[in-house]
């Protein structure tokens, strides 16, 4: 059964999409897993990282974007989630040429969604007048995800910032939540609000998540404030469970998130350079988590 992982934080700019990309590619590359990524963020950052900007436009022209999916969800037409999947979405050459099943597939977002989303949400609310939009979204997507349960090992959501229905629905559908954050006081306060207000009070999901971890991003080892905050997190001061290895703030990561063309491929070493060890560490830890959740994968 596929494990569902949400990468979420209602604060923007903390590296959610970058973390989601590293996790998806890390799990496929280092652990041979079949990963389906759903980019629920109208900014489409993760989709552009995986497919390139031109690739995102192409996916939309082919009718394979979140926007097309949401349009159908606003009607009585049957929903076939697999129809919106772009297969082999990663530019890692090891995944393009893999014959053992390892892969990263994607339901791409599209930035046009930013302007169209309010209209889509309105038509969706009309169909479900008495149900919270996020609950209705989750209930429509759930059977489609269940139909893919044996075809993927991990289903990973990149959630938009803010307390918006797409983010809330993805969290409802997930068993594991990874919350990227940067190490500064404002971000940590926002993270605690995210847990208390959104996860505990509003969605009431915190207690039933199989695992919740914080992923520290844009980490500068030489920064004394960050070092102190990291020590406090590890000591339990913030009552947060953090992933063991922070992701460094590096040029390598900045280069990795730029895919120039949809027909350009890179090896994992070329793409991530010295950040590849961060990718491996993140993937190893998430692999441990999901192995515990399922009691072993691909049974």
């Amino acid at each position: 059964m596929a494990v569902r992982v949400a990468v979420a934080n209602h604060k923007g700019g903390v590296g959610k999409s970058t973390t989601a990309m590293m996790l998806a590619e890390g799990l496929a590359h280092f652990h041979g897993l079949r990963v389906l990524v759903l980019d629920f963020d109208p900014q489409a950052s993760l989709s552009a990282m995986l497919l390139s900007s031109a690739g995102v436009g192409d996916a939309s022209r082919r009718g394979r974007s979140l926007w097309d999916l949401l349009k159908v969800m606003g009607t009585t037409q049957p929903l076939h989630l697999s129809r919106y999947i772009t297969t082999r979405a990663s530019d890692l050459i090891e995944l393009r040429d893999a014959i053992d099943g390892r892969r990263v597939d994607l339901v791409a977002s599209y930035s046009e969604l930013l302007s169209d989303y309010p209209g889509l949400e309105t038509s969706f609310r009309r169909r479900h007048p008495r149900t919270r939009t996020d609950v209705a979204l989750a209930s429509e997507i759930e059977p489609e995800l269940a139909a893919l349960d044996l075809s993927y090992d991990v289903i990973l959501f990149d959630c938009p910032a803010g307390a918006v229905p797409l983010s809330q629905a993805a969290i409802r559908l997930s068993q594991v939540l990874i919350a990227p954050t940067v190490l500064d006081d404002i971000s940590l306060r926002a993270l605690r609000d995210f847990i208390a207000i959104m996860l505990k009070d509003d969605l009431e999901v915190y207690g039933r998540l199989a695992d919740f971890r914080v992923a520290i991003t844009m980490h500068v080892r030489s920064n004394p404030e960050q070092r102190q905050l990291l020590d406090q997190i590890r000591a339990g001061t913030y009552k947060l469970k953090a992933m063991r290895r922070p992701v460094g703030h590096s040029v390598s990561v900045h280069r990795a998130v730029s895919r120039s063309r949809s027909d350009a491929f890179r090896s994992a070493r070329e793409k991530y350079a010295d950040a590849l060890t961060d990718v491996e560490a993140l993937a190893d830890e998430l692999f441990e988590i999901i192995t515990q959740v399922t009691g072993g994968l691909r049974q």
């Binding site: 129809r83 297969t87 044996l150």
Partner: protein, 187 residues
């Protein structure tokens, strides 16, 4: 949890559709070129007047080209789906019948216990090979990685009018518009 294979053919349409979208289309994509495709359940399309044997249960329409080539190509794949206990040589001929309207015809057989040495499996395999019908078997409809191509389909030569009629009568309007938009864009 024990697994019970579906008995009803209709219960297999959506899983086969998932397979077409998630795995089959990988085989259609040239290594360096481009592919656009559309997969549709056509089993109930076209109405009862078109006959028992005349409809593929699903189809996949592919527009593709090699990177260093001038032209886009257009292929229609038809799929005849059979549950575990209801596949025999007649099914191969059902799929063969579809070659008058599609470029590639495939028999998709839910066969959890496939064995080439089994008489029935061997007979169906041989008949598919003889007539150029693709044979795809699968053990568990819930897992697209259990789908295996046993025989690759050979390209047939339906008339252009027959292909047009198939698309016009079996594909719904929104998908036909998508195809026409692609054709206009890529021409």
């Amino acid at each position: 949890m024990s697994y019970s294979p579906p008995v009803d053919e209709e219960a297999l349409y959506k899983p086969v559709h998932n397979f077409l979208e998630q795995r089959f289309q990988d085989r259609l994509r040239p290594t360096f070129g481009d592919l656009r495709h559309l997969s549709v359940i056509t089993a109930r399309a076209g109405g009862p007047s078109t006959g028992l044997w005349s409809k593929p249960d699903l189809c996949c329409i592919a527009l593709w080209r090699y990177k260093y080539a001038l032209e886009w190509r257009f292929d229609v794949h038809g799929f005849e789906v059979k549950p575990a206990a209801r596949c025999d040589l007649t099914a191969v001929h059902e799929a063969l019948n579809h070659t008058s309207m599609v470029h590639y015809s495939h028999l998709v057989w839910h066969k959890p216990d496939w064995n080439e040495r089994d008489g029935k499996c061997a007979a169906i395999l041989e008949r598919c090979e003889r007539h150029g019908i693709g044979l795809i078997t699968f053990a568990d409809e819930r897992n697209v990685d259990t789908f295996t191509t046993r025989v690759a389909a050979r390209r047939q030569s339906p008339t252009g009018d027959a292909v047009d009629e198939f698309i016009e009568t079996r594909i719904k309007a929104a998908d036909r518009k998508t195809l026409l938009d692609w054709i206009a864009e890529l021409r």
